[in-house]
Symmetry: C5
Subunit: 131 residues, 5 copies
């Protein structure tokens, strides 16, 4: 175990809490800078809060498609008086990704798990370096 | 690793972002053209956006049943003022599939994960070819 | 691979699209007639359509309990103006099963995945027959 | 295979349909009496029916915590005119458990899968008994 | 097997019922004090009850991020007349964590499974201590 919350020797994914707040004109980037570790988000919930204006809010996520090209997808659409919370059911996000409000002024809260594991490739190359 | 986002040596499925927009009279086909790779969609969310008319929208998906025959199923029904987002909970789509609006003029956003893995059959036949 | 969509040599479950429409007075039976294959439904969504009357619709499923006796369970209750779609979250149905509307005149759409796999018992008995 | 729906030789869990109806003043106990089998519920849906009064209904489940002490938890809160169905997303219940309505007069329907598997402990002790 | 509900020899996670009630000004801590066991919550449902005031209630969870730093995330937002129950879809919480109401006076009920397993690290060190 290390000083921080991460046990770097573990092969199985370790689970941390993830939460962000989205507001108009503010992007949130998910692109952890780690050499040896693989990162993934399992998004669980999207929620308004009492200060969220009663209009339709739409959250967009930008990531990569199978060609390595930039792709945009709508993650969730919420309105405080109609649907204040939505279960995202484990929507998996692999880095690099960007979250932003495409409609509405927010705030909108996104939460879930941040999974961290030793990257398969990396562990193989370490073995090759040993001799 | 290759030039694009895909690591072709990996056996475990790799996860990419998938997002489409459905509008009246426009079909979206999911039928990736790959020899060596198996593709699958894990659909997570269906959402309206602020430009979606306040009427009932119904999304149909067309795929194959166990006899190899064409089968249609209703994926989701949304209305902006009643239910602006629905969790699809990992609805699995195997190619070839077609998405279309059966009711409503859209736009309706469908999102989730695009999984890519080396096809089991393919990897076996490659071993057989080696001798 | 065979003529139809099914690869009979595969041990892992294969995934097909499943969709049915329920209307008053019409039962839908799920009881595939196969000697060597195991069938299962993973139900994902229940949805109204624009022709569904604005009343409470209740879907019942009839299957077997652990004693082999007939058991009935409520799968979902929908009303177009309140809840036009519901995620069923992977409700697993093993054959034989029957779906019917217990309330409301429909139509109600049920969709999900039809999983097919080589039955464990069957594969064992084939090995025993070989000598 | 046995007379009933259960194959007692199987090690993998077998899946049966489970459905109960809750009404005011009526408790439903889940405590299967089996020596060799492990039982579990994966609850999927909670639903009102057309005869359910339009008031808030709250379902409580009573089970055991990690100390072996009795613990109560709220499973779901439904109201016919607001939320006639809720996906429970695979809420796992291990016996002994009791379901009851803590508010509302019902009926409320709870459904899901009843999983049965050979208990790990039991199978080990049988091996020990063999000598 | 032990006196309480926990079988300490098991390696696979054991599942117990978990339920808490959140009220304004009251924090609920999840931080089991065990040397040999790993604990995790799989949260399934958040629900109002008939005594919950008809206002927006927001539940916050506080945990640790990948740096070992304190992070806050919004778990769910509920309002009795709009959304009396929300499926949390298996939101995983690892200790130490704290639940609290950030908005609304409650009560709000959170429920799910409490998983307990022998910690991987711990089992390895016990083997090393044996000589």
């Amino acid at each position: 175990s290390t000083m921080n919350g991460l046990d770097e020797e573990a092969m199985a994914p370790q689970t941390f809490l993830y939460g962000v707040v989205l507001e108009a004109g503010k992007e949130v980037v998910f692109n952890p800078d780690d050499n040896n570790l693989e990162h993934q988000l399992d998004l669980r919930m999207a929620c308004v809060d009492p200060s969220t204006k009663d209009e339709l809010h739409m959250v967009e996520v930008e990531g990569q498609d199978t060609e390595g090209l930039k792709v945009k997808a709508v993650l969730v659409t919420l309105k405080p008086s109609t649907l204040p919370s939505v279960c995202l059911g484990g929507f998996t996000i692999t880095p690099p990704a960007v979250f932003r409000l495409k409609a509405g002024s927010g705030p909108i809260h996104i939460s879930g798990q941040h999974l961290v594991m030793v990257e398969a490739d990396q562990s193989f190359s370490e073995e090759e370096d040993e001799d």
